[in-house]
Amino acid sequence: MSLFDATAHAFALLFSGDAALWRIIWVSVKTSVIGLLLATPPAVLLGYAIAMHRFPGRRIAVWLAQCALSLPTVLIGLLLYLLLSRRGPLGPLEWLFSQSGIIAGQFVVGLPVLLAFTLAAVQALDARYAETARALGASRWRVMTTVLHEARYGVMAAVISGFGRVISEVGCALMVGGNIEGETRTITTAIALETSKGEFAQGIALGIVLVALALLMNGALMLLQGEAHTAGGRA
């Protein structure tokens, strides 16, 4: 099958409502969104705390947060596999080869991205915002919500980048999820499997979905950032 034929077949699969294909997409989006929703609050709070406070070991914390960005997802998958396997400390949860296991993986994969980007966004924000809030009598909580509101475009970029990272990773989902059809098969694990079988159409179809999602998310981010620049440029 030529690349052209495979691509044409891929579009046909997508628009025919192929149940197996859309099930894979659903599992991917669902586990990614849940993993990200769980990772966002602790990552944003931690990123804010590291950015705003001076404490012993802060530079090490920043260094570790940035290093965690480059952790191979397959290594995260291996560690989670060992934790979740029957003999592992989290074995009783029975999350291995389940969607819960993939969600745990997406949580661990997404957290460093969210944390590092939030940290960068808060650090880049003019310190006068937090000082003004404090000088006007805001509580610590209100200072934090004010600062995060002012840094919201950076935090949104963190969430979108985190989503891009979790939905496109393959190593962790494959090791922890097991690529079980209809259960834990995600877009990326399905692409790997179908390609290894020489079934390019489904792989291309899923690839198109991934690209479409990336375009959609980054388009939204660009729109938001454009809005921010417009607002900032009016001063």
Binding site: A133, L136, G137, H149, A231
Partner: protein, 231 residues
């Protein structure tokens, strides 16, 4: 010690170092209630730093401090001072909400009821002459408008002590005059105002006392009308 009894704030043994360098060493800083002060001195002498220390935004070695006859610490900054002292930056930033919400920010932080907050914000906007900006995007404000909104945002909290860092810096013409015109009314309303500045018109305002930071020491100077002293 007569001065101490009528003082709003007295800080003794105030030392600030930048690394090994001693920025200033002030034996006693005394600010009287409902008075206006200008804090002058060469660039880099520590005027802004001194205001920031009093506002709890910077730290220093403090011997002892008394606010309103109560001993206080400046670090950690007590809620008593946080409610009583407001600091305004040289170039104030506006939160990306509305002008009205900016002015009401401190009131919301204090949990003021919405109806009272709306009335106080409206009154503060009238005072600062920024009523026409109520729903304006703060990013659209000019430098002078930002300064007046920042003054309204501070004044609405009825601070006992208002610390203004170069309130007229980079303003000219009408914008500068509008800001200068607001300062005496703050004192008339009972606030003590300390302005770090070089602006001769601010220094020359009636009743304004002069503090000068020089060679790491704080000098008290009478108002030029009292001593015939030239700024």
């Amino acid at each position: 010690m007569n001065k101490l009894s009528s003082a709003l704030l007295t800080v003794q043994g105030l030392r600030k170092r930048h690394g090994e360098r001693l920025l200033f060493d002030i034996d006693t800083l005394t600010l009287e209630a409902a008075s206006a002060y200008v804090l002058t001195g060469a660039n880099g002498v520590g005027k802004s730093t001194l205001l920031r220390i009093l506002a709890g935004l910077d730290t220093a070695e403090i011997g002892q401090a008394v606010f309103d006859d109560k001993p206080v610490a400046l670090h950690p900054y007590p809620s008593l001072l946080r409610r009583a002292i407001v600091y305004v930056h040289q170039h104030p930033v506006m939160f990306s909400t509305s002008v009205a919400q900016n002015i009401g920010y401190g009131l919301a932080a204090r949990g003021e009821p919405k109806a009272r907050m709306a009335a106080l914000v409206a009154e503060a906007m009238d005072w600062a002459g920024v009523g026409y900006l109520r729903e304006t995007d703060p990013a659209r404000l000019s430098g002078g408008e930002k300064q007046r909104v920042a003054l309204a945002r501070a004044r609405v909290l009825q601070p006992r002590l208002l610390l203004l860092d170069e309130p007229t810096a980079n303003l000219d013409g009408v914008a500068r005059e509008q800001v200068i015109a607001l300062i005496p009314t703050l004192v008339q309303e009972g606030s003590t105002v300390v302005m770090a500045c070089h602006d001769r018109d601010l220094i020359g305002l009636p009743g304004v006392r002069r503090l000068k930071l020089r060679d790491g020491r704080l000098e008290y100077r009478p108002h030029k009308d009292e001593a015939g002293d030239k700024p």
